[in-house]
């Protein structure tokens, strides 16, 4: 795949939860190495989009297509999507008691690479990436997300991203629940991962503009009622910050059909 090829192409994507349509025709193209921000008010479908892209079983695709690195993404199971280089940093990572972080991370990396990674090599890599995120080594002796603070959960998600080096990372409200210092550390490490992987595409999903102070997006999109209603450069985010979502709501609110 060449650098200038699109990493992800979403065409007229419609998706439901049960009978309720949430996504109503999303169009979005992310090129390799591009940083996109997806903003929108609560309930606009931001998290649905990230879950649909990762393949969460609760959503039904009713029409549209998604091409990821030249392949039809929607035909793949979540684990296949992951192995092909798609990554989702969860807004609310679940805890899995009894599963140790160290073993989990090592197995995860092995399944992504399709080869064994020796404990020694893995320790070395892990140490490097954890240093990047200001994480203490004791962390990996704990159980997956069990008893993690909000900040620890988010750091752990970004640690996984740093280890996996995905082709496209979806960051679902990674800023939520972080205080300003933690947000800064997390954003800096996202930037560091992006800098070492210049081909990595990023889709930053967020409600607020503050995360974009640290990560400069190339494009900003506004999702409203299941559609991208406005796209632009990073100035769009600042505009939103100044005016709030009210203007968008006035301009794009669909009349309710009876």
């Amino acid at each position: 795949m060449q650098n200038n090829d699109a990493c992800l192409i979403i065409k007229d994507l419609h998706a439901n939860v049960g009978d309720k349509p949430i996504l109503k025709g999303v169009n979005l193209t992310i090129g390799a190495g591009e940083k996109h921000a997806l903003m929108g008010p609560n309930g606009s479908g931001k998290s649905t989009l990230s879950n649909v892209l990762m393949g969460h079983p609760n959503y039904t695709i009713t029409s549209g297509e998604v091409i990821f690195r030249g392949e039809n993404l929607l035909e793949l199971a979540p684990d296949e999507r992951a192995r092909k280089g798609l990554f989702l940093a969860f807004q609310y990572p679940v805890s899995i008691p009894g599963v140790k972080v160290f073993q989990f991370l090592r197995n995860m990396l092995q399944s992504r690479r399709g080869t064994d990674v020796s404990v020694r090599d893995f320790r070395k890599l892990l140490k490097e990436k954890m240093g990047l995120l200001n994480m203490r080594e004791e962390f990996v002796k704990r159980y997956l997300n069990e008893g993690f603070s909000g900040g620890e959960k988010k750091r752990h998600e970004i640690l996984q991203m740093a280890l996996l080096e995905p082709a496209l990372a979806l960051l679902d409200e990674t800023d939520s629940g972080l205080d300003i210092d933690a947000l800064k550390t997390v954003c800096e490490s996202i930037n560091a991962v992006a800098a070492t992987n210049p081909d990595m595409g990023l889709l930053i999903i967020t409600h607020y503009q503050r995360m974009l102070n640290y990560i400069q997006p190339d494009f900003v999109h506004i999702l409203f009622e299941g559609r991208i209603v406005k796209s632009g450069g990073k100035e769009l985010a600042l505009e939103l910050e100044a005016n709030g979502y009210e203007l968008i709501e006035k301009q794009f609110r669909q009349p309710v059909s009876v």
């Binding site: 199971a77 684990d79 992951a82 899995i96 008691p97 009894g98 599963v99 399944s111 992504r112 996996l164």
Partner: protein
């Protein structure tokens, strides 16, 4: 109930005289009690129907042997001393001189009656009365196998004592009665490994009493790996002295029917128990677990965590009780039963009970029954684990949560190894 001669065929054959006169009397009284008692009524709940064993078709087991399978099983453990019984008869005993020199007694209960009759008599039945229930009375009247372990005052054994018992005669009945006495300040761990091979029906009754003196520390790990058609009744009753600690892990992987009672009496101030249970049910297995955390004195503590993983048509009924006497102030008790259902036809019922008569205590209880969490599965799959691996990881984590509470690295590793071997044997054949 018709008490015909045929009904008591194997029971009478096993109700044979023993050497100690006091025990002979005790057996006769128990036999009488067994005949006079009615079977207990089933709980007034809508439980799944238990499988029925044709008891009349059973026979007395033949002579025991120390088969290669038993040797292999024993070799997978590290131990300070070991006893192996097959069909209720002692077939191997390892008791190194240095352990014996400390005054530790490990022997079959039958042998103990010949050599240490007074010692056995002073403890036997003090934790679990010989006629407590009909099943216990039958056991007292007819037991053949079982061990006697005695650990004298202030003696600490680093490695566990290992007791392996098996049943190798098909369609037979095995009754064993064990007595463990751990004196003041002594420390011991005991692995109770129960195993039988094949698919033959059998009846197993196993009663174990543990008497832990003041400050004693006891760890019990019981592996119940009876054959898939066995009907098993186990009763464990422990009596804990002042500041005594007793941790007990029950791992149940076998049997068609297993009714386990696990009762702990916290008799003195500061006694502390941790009851752990891990049940892996498959096929038509039917399990029932009755537990009692009996707080009879102030400042006593108990914590119970029972997890079960049920596949196929397996069924589990958890029936637990925390009892806090009115003098048992400042006690802490906790009880949790969690059940993971991995198939549509598996089922679990859980009844956690509290009876608290003291007014200054902490107590908590809970139960959960449900399938695999789809969000956990999705999370793991989104990290590149295929569906099967993701599910295995979640189930393993669910099991490890219990095992890791053992506080004994060596035992944790060995129990995990045992489970891994069991799960390997359970792997469904790969679809072609």
């Amino acid at each position: 109930m018709a008490k015909t001669e045929t009904l008591y065929r194997w029971q009478e054959a096993l109700h044979t005289p023993v050497s100690a006169a006091w025990m002979q009397t005790l057996r006769q009284n128990a036999w009488q009690a067994y005949q006079d008692m009615a079977d207990p009524l089933p709980p007034q709940r809508n439980l799944r129907k238990a499988p029925i064993l044709d008891r009349e078709g059973l026979q007395v087991p033949g002579a025991g042997s120390f088969s290669d399978a038993l040797k292999e099983r024993q070799q997978s453990w590290q131990f300070a001393a070991a006893l192996v019984q097959d069909n209720g008869a002692e077939v191997a005993l390892t008791l190194p001189q240095e352990v014996q020199a400390q005054g530790v007694i490990l022997t079959s209960l039958k042998t103990a009656l010949e050599q240490h009759s007074d010692l056995v008599q002073s403890h036997f039945g003090t934790a679990c009365a010989p006629t407590a229930t009909r099943a216990v009375a039958l056991n007292a009247a007819c037991w053949q196998g079982g061990l006697f372990l005695y650990v004298p005052k202030n003696i600490e054994l680093q490695l566990p004592v290992y007791f392996l018992q098996s049943l190798s005669t098909a369609q037979s009945a095995l009754l064993s009665r064990s007595l463990v006495v751990v004196e003041r300040g002594a420390k011991v761990s005991l692995v109770l490994d129960s195993w039988s091979d094949g698919d033959n029906g059998a009846y197993v009754s196993d009663v174990l009493e543990v008497i832990a003196g003041d400050g004693a520390q006891v760890q019990l790990v019981a592996l119940q790996a009876w054959s898939t058609q066995a009907h098993v009744e186990t009763v464990r009753q422990s009596k804990l002295g002042r500041d005594a600690h007793c941790t007990d892990l029950q791992v149940t992987t076998g049997a068609a029917y297993h009714h386990a009672s696990n009762l702990v009496d916290l008799m003195q101030n500061g006694a502390n128990t941790r009851l752990l249970g891990l049940t892996l049910g498959s096929r038509q297995a039917w399990y029932r677990q009755d537990t009692l955390q009996n707080h009879l004195c102030p400042h006593t503590q108990s914590k119970l965590v029972y997890h079960s993983v049920l596949r196929d048509q397996a069924y589990s009924f958890y029936n637990g009780m925390i009892y806090v006497d009115k003098v048992a102030q400042q006690t802490e008790s906790y009880q949790l039963s969690r059940n993971l259902l991995l198939s549509d036809a598996s089922r679990a019922d859980a009844i956690p009970n509290l009876e608290i008569f003291a007014d200054d205590v902490q107590s908590g209880h809970g139960a959960s029954i449900g399938g695999l969490d789809p969000d956990q599965r999705f999370y793991l799959m989104s990290r590149g684990f295929d569906r099967r691996t993701a599910e295995d990881l979640i189930v393993e984590g669910f099991m490890e949560e219990v095992i890791l509470q053992l506080d004994n690295e060596v035992l944790i590793e060995q129990v995990k190894h045992h489970l891994a071997m069991y799960l390997l044997g359970q792997e469904p054949e790969e679809e072609a």
